[in-house]
Amino acid sequence: MRRLGNIITSIHILLCVFLLVGCDLGRQPKISIRFWNGFTGPDGRTMLKIVKKFNRENPDIRVLMQRMDWGVYYNKLFVAGIGNRAPEVFIIHAGNIERFMQANFIRTIDDLVASENGIDARDFSENIWSAVEKNGRHYGLPLDVHIIGMYYNRALFRKAGIVDEKGEPKPPKTREEFLDALSRLTKDADGDGQTKTWGFVLTWYLTNLYSLMCQWEGKFFTPDNDRCLLNCPKNVEALQFCVDLIRKYKFAPPPENFDSWIGFRQGKVGIAFEGIYMLADLERQKDLDFAGAPLPVLGKVPAAWADSHILCLKTGLEDKKLDAAWRFMKYLSDNSLDWAEGGQVPVRSSLRNTERFRNMKIQWEFARQIPYIRYVPRVPFIFEFGLEFHVGVEKALRGTLSPRQALDEAAENVDKVIERRKKMIEENRKPRP
């Protein structure tokens, strides 16, 4: 009896296995392309839809997408690359591309772009296309450009009377308008001495302060990346402006006791600078009446931080795979308006000049900044720079150090990294004894 039971169970298991395997039996072999990215938020769902659509339309190719958190993504990608198990197609941020070039992980795509099934490179804005260029060769296909911009709470604007002639909320464009708006937005509604509504909040220090430092025309490195100039007077001035917003004017909450982005979502803050990718987050907040606009010019020139997701190809692909992978990359690029829907700006101007994109109001507003967007400096030690930048700004905003001291310290630490790398390169140039 027991034996019979065993046999029946085995048959069931076998059937299940056959069902699972059977899906692929009897068809011509597909070319499988592995596609890695860090889209773990709502953007991942958007991407998955596009990938599924591609798989349906291209029966000879099967793209397998794997998503992992950005926090660990690069580590895994590097380790996979070193073990020669990198996926065929993967996303990296423009700011990180230098490292991958150095490690020889990514294939240049100039031949593919120029090929019959290519893309007109003039369709990319010059500053975006050059973000993936080195020595005249391009190392990846920019999928999008995610720009920082100004989100503002329309309800709070109306209440504070910051409106135009038609009574519509009016986003500030200059430093004077910005400070005026903040002074009207910052309110202590019940008069208990504690601010209930803040005019402004700093969100991610790197994007916020980098944009402002660029607006103040600050520099970050000497032209040959030989020394870090993070502590140059213009950057100090930009940082001092932010410190003043918190400590002097009290328009922005001190960072040690405020959850900045959540505060904006809860309607406690009038203005926040954040990336276009936060749009999906805001749209889920049904009771929030918000809008987007380009960053106001707080310094001397307009500037806004931006980064791009770059589609990259693994080096050393055989022709068949290469062809399939390129077809997939081109498909993503051609359909990047679908991608933009979830809170992105497409890089191709032919796609941006469409009715459909114009209807994506906030994306369209943010995209107006494209002529003066600024990518982070392209240095191979970008992780170290990013950390020092963050810690330096944090110390200044919390009042632990003065802006000058904080940036001095950060620049000094980055210089140490540069020094060490220089030594490494020099020693490797020396002829071996």
Binding site: V79, F100, A103, E256, F258, F383, L387, M424
Partner: protein
Amino acid sequence: MNKKNALYRYSGYLFLLPYLALFGAFLIAPLCYGLGLSFFDWEMISPFPPKFINLGNYEEALKSPYFWRALWATIRFVIMIVPSVVSGALLIAVLINNVSPKRESFFRAAYFFPTIISISVAGILWRWFYNTEFGLFNSYLEHVGIRIHWLSEVKWAMKSIVLMTLWWTLGGAMVVLLAGLKQIPDQYYEAAAIDGAGAFHRFFHITLPLLRPVLLFVIVMSIIASFQVFGQTFMITRGGPELSTRVLVQYIYETAFSNYRMGYGAAMSWLLFLVIAVFSLVQFRMMKER
């Protein structure tokens, strides 16, 4: 006959072989590899091959303020967590040991439960608890007019991590101590009771001395685990604010896998190993002497 005997003698090793093979391949070999690596300057993604630099990495670590800050953050964590876990676990174990067997299994399971949750889940959970605006703790504290910035203030961040770790690891230590308590024969307590010893005396003159080997085990394991703290800080604060909770393992992780400096990372790992080894040895000595 002789042959059979020999076979018999070595059959034990044969049974050990599967484990030893895995132990060797996944622990001993990487350990040796790491030791070797620590004498090389190797940036994993640079075009240059690893270069032998003798003790250069160790020298750099000992001169680096970041290394000392991370070590100090780790030591602060250890100093706070080990006494609280051990004393807390001991207290709960003694209490549970004194309830009826039926309830005992309930309490044991309840206190042990957090331990089986993975650190990433526990970390996310506690990040919500600690949230300043809508977190569990602050929503209770608000009733008495207190608002604590659990994770964003330097003076609170590490304490919050310790509190979370206490919740997470208490159960494991408690179960071990409870097993130790069960091994103490009841006669001793009975005899002491007859001699007129109160609960206080029974605890300090019977329970503690007889529990010493188990207690030593728990303390040493707790110290070793605490020095290797990583998951909590990485999940909850990522080392902030102002790097005040960046512990040594996180710094090693960042060095090796964000900045790709394999040799330097390996050297710091070995320094951490030395610190743990010294602490453990001192512990064993102290416990033996008495």
